[in-house]
């Protein structure tokens, strides 16, 4: 048992009126929340009164507990796993828990953001403390009622026991009194070995609603008097709005208003989360989505050029040319790499490239906004609600306190909904139109509006001595709107002579974070390259990597190495054992990869078969070290999803440009992985080390691309230096 300091301001619990009997009923923070049915136990009886214990939870007189899920749910399953952590420390039966999605509530919650695979890692202590504090208040109330020291009380599954007197009482019976108790300055936390809920698989709390089609998503929001809005943004990244003629559009059935909006007006400071290439657009407001779609086709807009119309060919050439320039920014240097290369017995140099990618969440961008004179109510899919509130308040000319934001379940995020310009558009449209609106993007709107994963180019060089030892590595990378290079990642720290340097290329095409930003490219390049270096050194690819980790663990080179070499080696050894590394079964070809990102370690072995010139992944073994696993089956689901996502984009996906325009605007030309192309089997193994949890939503994606590339090399004898793999040769083998 450990003690943690509580950081609660009692005021944040007491913003409610005291009910008769001393209890506290319903804090106002609950009013903005979205009530859900008891997802875990549909037969659960709801209580008559709820007692607000703290901002994270309320308890009914019958012992039913409602736990808030503070962070946005994008499919990473935090709406189940975050409340599980609270429930663990509260010590309740999960079957008596109801989960509610919190709205943006910065008084009660911190970091209400979905990004960087950080929800569980950064929420871990506050979620545990919230549950433990509530448990303590319930114990204190029972101790007072019984006139016994609180230290003599124990809890089990929502019941307080006093062993000496043989008395027991349910949480619900003391909830009213607990709500009025003084919050202690510190509370005990469970020893992880005593966890009952954490570490046991619990079903997605929204699953029943999902499989029966209940409204959960932003696009499902319906309100009295709500209109539908769409926007027309420039069709190319070098164009901006000059003028428009709305006469024909306004004459169409169901169309009410057409006007211009600007999400970046003068005097409003833009935040990182406002990234967008098209601040000025034309809004069309009407009564139904289909009618507004038709009217938009009839809208006559004149766009004016503002810069160069870029193309993928230009990007490719410009990145290559940039890499020849002596102007690279030095990021790290260990030893004397130039000299080491001069004296090398063997040098391997390879370049890797990858195209732009669109996020393509299955639910296109949308947001509901109802802006009135003195307040703005927003609801929809957003990964960054707190940042959004700042921007929306600024463009509407309001105080942030006048803006409320409710997060809906999101039909995918992948980084796209970190950038909330679509929600700002909805707010501006509602303000100007004077009606509640739901802004809806089509797939084409979404795929052509920017904030893409940018195109990248990286060159690795390795120097081997006569015995095949790796003595030097150089990595030089370039990307659009920023380099992909992580200077302090492996193999930095494992080689005596090392150099990392990079470049950035400007563009009028907007880019942003895309699931496992930069890692989603660098893992492919680094781990494909090391596979080739291992081969050049005449070593087994796993043993080769392990020897480097051994060096980094026992005698690390340089400072600030990002990773823990022993944990890194641990996943590689685990996957080696589980996959029975060595020769694959006849007809199968095997590749390996390992990568560290989002504070977690992943190693994968892939078996691939070539049939009719098409690769089919037969099996993936995946070893993961992400510390304590909160919800194992859901965690496996995340790992599986990242693997399928990584294979899909490496194999098939690309967004290309011609004349400043994306050449793929919908799924007829933008290729995503489909059912038959997914691996037949994925087996995941978690390292059980009791370390506090780290990232899970992203880390399985980056390494799988190179595990696949390395397996395809075994199958075809050809290394894959450019993504997507299947555009290089439609038939393999």
């Amino acid at each position: 048992m450990t003690f943690v300091k509580t950081s609660y301001n009692r005021r944040s619990f007491l913003k409610v009126s005291t009910a008769a009997g001393g209890g506290i009923l319903l804090g106002f923070s609950w009013l903005s929340s979205c009530t859900s049915e008891p997802a875990q136990a549909p037969g659960l009886t709801m209580p008559e009164n709820w007692y607000d214990i703290n901002g994270f939870l309320k308890i009914g007189e019958n012992g039913v507990v409602t736990i808030m899920s503070p962070n946005p749910e994008i499919g990473q399953n935090v709406k189940t796993s975050m409340p599980m952590i609270v429930a663990e420390e509260l010590d309740v039966d999960w079957e008596h828990v109801v989960v509610e999605q919190a709205g943006l509530d910065t008084e009660n919650f911190t970091r209400q953001l979905a990004g960087g695979s950080q929800s569980i890692r950064q929420g871990w202590n506050s979620l545990r403390t919230a549950g433990a504090t509530a448990r303590y208040l319930l114990l204190a109330a029972a101790a007072q009622q019984w006139g016994v020291p609180v230290e003599e009380l124990a809890t089990e599954a929502g019941v307080i026991h006093h062993e000496k007197s043989g008395q027991s009482i349910g949480y619900g019976e003391v909830a009213s009194a607990a709500a009025g108790m003084e919050v202690p300055s510190e509370v005990p936390l469970k020893d992880p070995s005593a966890f009952k809920i954490i570490g046991s698989s619990r079903k997605n709390v929204d699953a029943q609603k999902i499989v029966t089609g209940q409204p959960l998503f932003g696009l499902d929001v319906q309100r009295e008097g709500m209109r539908i809005a769409m926007v027309a943004h420039p069709p190319a990244f070098n164009l901006e709005l000059e003028s428009f003629d709305a006469a024909d559009a306004l004459a169409m059935p169901g169309i009410e208003q057409v006007f211009a909006i600007d999400t970046a007006p003068e005097g409003v400071e833009q935040q990182w989360s406002d990234v967008n290439a098209f601040p000025k657009a034309v809004a069309i407001v009407g009564r139904s989505t289909w009618e507004v779609m038709q009217a938009r086709k009839a809208l006559k807009v004149t766009w004016k050029p503002t810069g160069q119309a870029e193309s993928t060919g230009q990007h490719t050439a410009a990145l290559a040319k940039l890499m020849e320039k002596p102007t690279a920014l030095p990021q790290r240097k260990d030893g004397d790499p130039d000299k080491a290369f001069e004296g090398a017995a063997k040098i391997v140099e390879r370049s890797y490239r990858a195209p732009f990618l669109a996020h393509n969440t299955m639910e296109p961008m949308n947001f509901f906004a109802h802006v009135q004179q003195d307040k703005a109510e927003l609801e929809g899919p957003i990964q960054t609600p707190e940042f959004l509130r700042t921007t929306v308040a600024a463009v509407l000319g309001m105080e942030p306190a006048q803006v409320s934001i409710m997060m809906t379940r999101m039909g995918g995020g992948f980084g796209r909904r970190l950038y909330g310009q679509f929600a700002t558009q909805a707010a501006l449209i509602s303000q100007q139109a004077g009606v509640p609106v739901k802004l809806v993007y089509t797939r084409e709107d979404d795929m052509t509006q920017g904030t893409y994963r940018p195109g990248y180019l990286v060159t690795y060089r390795a120097a081997l001595d006569e015995s095949g030892n790796l003595i030097a590595v150089q990595v030089k990378g370039a990307g659009i709107h920023g380099s992909p290079v992580f200077a302090n990642r492996f193999p930095a720290g494992a080689v005596d002579h090392y150099k990392a340097e990079d470049y950035s290329l400007d563009s009028n095409i907007s880019t942003g974070a895309w699931r496992a930003p930069r890692s989603n490219f660098m893992a492919y390049a680094e781990q494909s390259f090391l596979d080739e270096v291992a081969e050049a050194a005449g070593k087994d690819p796993i043993d080769f990597r392990l020897s480097l980790f051994e060096r980094a663990a026992t005698d690390p080179v340089g400072e600030n190495n990002d990773y823990d070499a022993e944990r890194y080696a641990g996943v590689l050894k685990l996957v080696k054992e589980k996959s029975g590394w060595g020769k694959p079964a006849p007809g199968l070809h095997r590749g390996v990869s390992a990568y560290y990102c989002h504070n977690s370690y992943v190693a994968q072995v892939v078996d691939v078969e070539i049939k009719g010139g098409q690769p089919k992944v037969k099996k993936v073994w995946c070893a993961v070290d992400c510390g304590i696993v909160v919800n194992p089956d859901a965690a496996r689901n995340q790992i599986e999803g990242g693997i399928v996502d990584g294979i899909g984009h490496a194999m098939y996906s690309a967004l290309t440009f011609a004349d400043g325009r994306p050449e793929q605007q919908n799924f007829d030309r933008y290729r995503l992985i489909r059912h038959a192309e997914a691996p037949e089997e994925i087996e995941t193994f978690f390292v059980d080390n009791g370390i506090d949890p780290t990232g899970l939503g992203e880390p399985s994606l980056p390494p799988i691309q190179s595990a696949l590339a390395n397996a395809l090399y075994q199958a075809t004898g050809k290394r894959l230096y450019s993504q997507p793999f299947m555009s290089e040769a439609e038939v393999l083998g």
């Binding site: 990473q76 399953n77 499989v211 289909w290 399928v644 007829d668």
Partner: protein
Amino acid sequence: MAKFDLKINNQSYQVDVAPETPLLWVLREHAGLTGTKFGCGIGQCGVCTVHLNGTAMRSCSLPVSAVGTKAVTTIEGLSEKGDHPVQQAWLQHDVPQCGYCQAGQIMTAAALLAQNPTPSDEEINTAMNGNLCRCGTYTRIHAAVKTASSLG
């Protein structure tokens, strides 16, 4: 604008819309059935899948005027209590991540199993290939279709 009498989930609806309006938008915005999703609008992703007389159809590309007297079934009407074997199997395998595509996946799987109660892996691949899942839950979907086959 024209009036259309529709039979959706065994209930009668009358809507007054332009004849070319896709069934998807009639379901979502006129019948109030938002379980059927919008993904691409061109029949490429499958999130809008419904049954028309038991056959899986892309409602985003089906004008309401083409529905006629055919019975429309949406995810909300697949079973009365949300316990169709496919729905049960989806819960058992805890398939969804974001969940947005799953209604379409379930409708496609239910139509497949109605026609072919014990599909092979190849037949499942073929039937489910038109439904995109951006979260990559395909391996679970595949396993859940097989489980549903055994439950049905």
